[in-house]
């Protein structure tokens, strides 16, 4: 293996060709996984640390603590001043960000390639040496509450999404919002943040992704120097979350808000996600989402509801393939003027019935597959997104091998497999159907 690598390097040196995104991976002795996407087109590197902990791993009554801790991770450590890391990044022309999902919390920087070591030094430091002060916690909680105001409470569409998701899961914490419920955010304390940090932030619960102008050898040397010296936390075991019982009853919600002028209907079904070594069903569902709701001019829903019946102005289908536990497959329809939500929902169901009856247009399936193959080529152009693909997969129970196998698995899915996956998943008993609309028009308004 080492030998063939040397040959590859020599070959590239001779041709003078820059390489785009060569993938390698290894694990440090303390259990930290490392993925390197080498791409020498520009002297830039993306450095990301992903923790295998998200909002679905929060203790009961502490929703929002994963995201709150993400904010507090910028407050300095035992040896660095508050926001010093951010200032160093900025002073070096870099940019940074962090995000929390139900399944992961990730921190990343994009910076000149020769600053990689500096990034690792700081990121490794805050993996274990975070220092939190009571006053920082109080101010930052206000910031998070304003963030919640901005993202959710001021936006009826987001309130609706939050309520639908709560209805989708009977017992699993995917039913909680990532940012947390307002009343629980208000009660989050310094001790809560410290406990969550202590329980989950450790090298054996983290994945390092480095993408850009850095060789796997250099990344390994630096990672061993900075991350490799941090002892693992032996108390971190497998992630076990409360599971849902079988879903036996379809759930329906109707949310009215005066700020809504355009009503819509959205339905989500509980759906299996990609599992390591077992991605076939997810690949079929991914293609099903493209067939039903890809481009409106070629998809099943678009052709039927927008072009033929002309009772909808938007249609789409979506599927969360990469996730630690079962997620959702969804359908979305916006009625054209003069059509009720009831009418478009009926039309949606009759279109789904006809699709399951008539089968799949093989020519359209071939088009979707060729687009998917091309998307792999286009994806190489955006290194940061590519790095995110690996980070999200590895914190959702998948491996590098699973990520690399995915395109071929998608290419091999047959029309019959898609149809049988559709019959299993499009089960109303496991679904939540939501209607969002403005308030019912009063009689007077109707008469105008």
């Amino acid at each position: 293996m080492k030998y063939s690598f040397a040959i590859a390097v020599a070959w590239i040196a001779v041709l003078g060709v820059a390489r785009a995104a060569e993938v390698s991976s290894f694990t440090l002795d303390n259990g930290m996984e490392v993925v390197v996407l080498e791409d020498n087109r520009a002297p830039v590197v993306v450095h990301m640390v992903w923790y295998r902990v998200g909002s679905a791993d929060e203790p009961p009554g502490k929703t929002g603590i994963a995201h709150f801790l993400e904010h507090l991770m910028f407050k300095g450590t035992e040896t660095t001043a508050p926001r010093e890391f951010s200032e160093v990044i900025a002073a070096n022309g870099g940019s940074e960000n962090a995000f929390t999902s139900p399944d992961y919390t990730a921190y990343f920087q994009r910076i000149a390639a020769d600053r990689l070591e500096l990034m690792m030094k700081y990121e490794a430091d805050r993996m274990v040496n975070l220092k939190l002060l009571e006053e920082d916690v109080a101010t930052e909680r206000e910031v998070v509450l304003e963030e919640r105001n901005q993202r959710v409470d001021g936006d009826p569409g987001s309130i609706f999404t939050e309520q639908r998701r709560a209805a989708q899961y009977i017992n699993h914490p995917y039913g909680n919002p990532v940012i947390g419920w307002r009343h629980e955010i208000m009660g989050l304390t310094l001790e809560d943040a410290k406990a969550f940090y202590r329980d989950h932030y450790a090298p054996n619960n983290a994945v390092l992704v480095v993408a850009g102008d850095a060789s796997p050898e250099e990344v390994r040397r630096l990672a061993e120097t900075y991350y490799g010296v941090i002892p693992p936390n032996p108390d971190i075991g497998p992630r076990v979350r409360p599971a849902d019982p079988p879903h036996r009853v379809e759930r329906r919600l109707h949310f009215e808000d005066p700020r809504i002028s355009q009503p819509y209907v959205i339905r989500t079904y509980l759906a299996p996600e990609r599992d390591s070594g077992d991605q076939e069903e997810a690949a079929a569902l991914f293609l099903l989402s493209r067939l039903l709701g890809g481009s409106s001019a070629t998809s099943v829903l678009g052709q039927s509801l927008q072009f033929e019946k002309q009772i909808a102005i938007h249609t789409s289908a979506f599927y969360s393939a990469t996730s630690y536990d079962d997620n959702t497959f969804g359908l979305f329809v916006v009625p054209a003027p003069g059509y009720s939500l009831e009418e478009v929902e009926e039309a949606l169901d009759s279109t789904l019935d006809a699709f399951l009856q008539d089968g799949i247009d093989e020519v359209q399936l071939a088009r979707i597959k060729s687009q998917h193959r091309a998307s792999d080529i286009y994806a190489k152009d955006n290194l940061q997104n590519l790095a995110r693909t690996y980070g999200a997969a590895l914190t959702s129970g998948l491996t590098v091998a699973d990520v690399e196998a995915w395109p071929d698995i998608v290419a091999a899915v047959t029309a019959d497999e898609i149809l049988s996956a559709a019959r299993r998943v499009l089960d109303r008993e496991k679904s939540v159907t939501g209607w969002l609309s403005g308030p019912e028009a009063t009689e007077e308004e109707v008469m105008q």
Partner: protein, 437 residues
């Protein structure tokens, strides 16, 4: 400890070759169309970015929304293909083609695989040169646009921006939504689409950039194939927009727990000799994310908001300095007070030596990092051409940043930050805030 470390970092930076490795060549087609090209043969695809100067500002009186609607219809049928046939052809080629109407330009972004280049370009050419504007497509797109306009009317962010624009530019196209109104869009006809197309997509206003797996010779041929059949000239560009905003506070009552504010006043043109000083000053003041003064004072110290910023808006026919912030209704008055104080302070005192040094290292260091990916670089190069920047601009830009002095900032800050001219539009139910006009 901290101080030593920072010093080390700066020493580090001094040796940093802050240069973007972007090798731009100018390509002129036999038909006389010019494009900027960066060859990048690593990945077998190319990105092309085309800009037509003018955009939605060219809408004729009474026809607001025509250019936006026309742009949306370009991919809804052309040549002998209806909307569905066009979408199928695009999917078969796995080409990515998108059209966007902006205030000052119509933007066309395309990415195509090398193996499908000719067919992809032929498809794009057909869309640009011979859109059909079928009646059923017009009705379909009209309903989508009307739905968006009605939703925007109930969105506090949109209401704030629209109110600010209307008070600032009134009847100039910059003063109203490019989408048009319910009434203007309802009245648009197929003839209006044909006219909007004739006015906007012409060769006298075109800027092209290409990045990726394509040679100069191939690009030269492609340019004539793609754009050679467009009309020579389009509609005249609009006049400069008069700045009509009075100082004060406007409150638009809206039932929401969090108020949204848009604030600002007249700004500075890109061709102003002090532009680079103004740019650096404003990075420190409001544009550089969490490190900016506004973020420090309003978010970090007081926890009043999740995000606040201030930016230099460079429109073709106007310049603004403006920003946005959202906070709980009870805290908007305090937020605006802090904002005003910051505005006054930078105007009176400029910035500190430390702030200037750190901003320069940040701005010059971040610049090369922008040139990341074919589509991204194509977009930057098209914008550079539209702004009239020279082809060697990238190599000299950081020198202009480095040349900015503390005295420059002081002079320009006193000129561009004018607390007495500040206007704040608040949408929500702010407590203790009196509208002043």
């Amino acid at each position: 400890m901290t101080r030593i470390l920072i010093a080390l970092v700066f020493a580090f930076v001094a040796s940093f070759p802050a240069r973007a490795a972007v090798d731009i060549e100018e390509v002129t087609s036999p038909g006389g169309i010019t494009a900027w090209l960066v060859q990048e043969h690593t990945i077998p695809f190319a990105a092309i970015e085309i800009r037509f100067r003018g955009g939605t500002a060219l809408d004729l009186p009474g026809k607001r929304g025509a250019i936006n609607m026309m742009t949306a219809l370009i991919e809804d049928g052309s040549g002998d293909m209806d909307a569905q046939a066009f979408a199928r052809a695009r999917e078969e080629l796995a080409a990515r083609i998108s059209f966007g109407a902006r205030e000052d330009s119509i933007n066309v972004s395309a990415q195509f695989l090398t193996e499908n280049r000719d067919a992809s370009i032929a498809l794009l050419r057909q869309a640009l040169v011979s859109p059909r504007f079928d009646d059923d497509a017009i009705e379909r797109v009209r309903e989508q646009i009307l739905s968006g306009i009605q939703s925007d009317a109930l969105d506090p962010n949109e209401i704030a921006s629209r109110t600010f624009d209307r008070l600032t530019f009134e009847d100039h196209p910059y003063g109203s939504s490019p989408d048009g109104t319910v009434e203007s869009v309802a009245a648009l006809t197929r003839d209006d689409m044909v006219e909007a197309h004739r006015m906007s997509l012409a060769r006298d206003r075109i800027y092209v950039a290409a990045v990726g797996d394509i040679t100069p010779e191939e690009l030269a041929t492609l340019l004539d194939d793609l754009l050679g059949d467009l009309p020579e000239t389009g509609a005249p560009q609009v006049a400069d927009a008069d700045y009509l905003l009075e100082p004060g506070i406007t409150v638009v009552p809206f039932d929401t727990p969090q108020s949204v504010a848009v604030f600002g006043h007249e700004g500075i043109d890109r061709d102003d000799p002090d532009f680079f000083s103004a740019f650096v000053a404003n990075e420190i003041f409001g544009a550089r994310g969490l490190q900016s003064r506004l973020m420090e004072e309003i978010r970090v110290k007081r926890g009043l908001t999740y995000g606040v910023g201030a930016y230099l808006a460079l429109k073709d026919r106007a310049a603004l300095i403006f920003g946005q912030v959202a906070t709980a209704n009870e805290r908007m008055a305090e937020t605006i007070e802090v904002l005003r104080n910051e505005w006054t302070q930078i105007a009176e005192e400029g910035v500190t030596e430390d702030e200037l040094t750190s901003a320069k290292t940040y701005i010059t260091g971040a610049y090369p990092l922008r040139f990341d990916g074919n589509a991204q670089i194509a977009g930057i190069m098209a914008s550079m051409q539209m702004a009239g920047l020279p082809i060697d601009y990238i190599a000299t830009r950081n020198d202009k940043i480095e040349a900015v002095t503390l005295a420059d900032i002081r002079r320009v800050a006193a000129r561009i930050y004018r607390p007495e001219d500040l206007h704040v539009v608040v949408v929500g139910q702010p407590v203790g805030l009196e509208p002043s006009n």
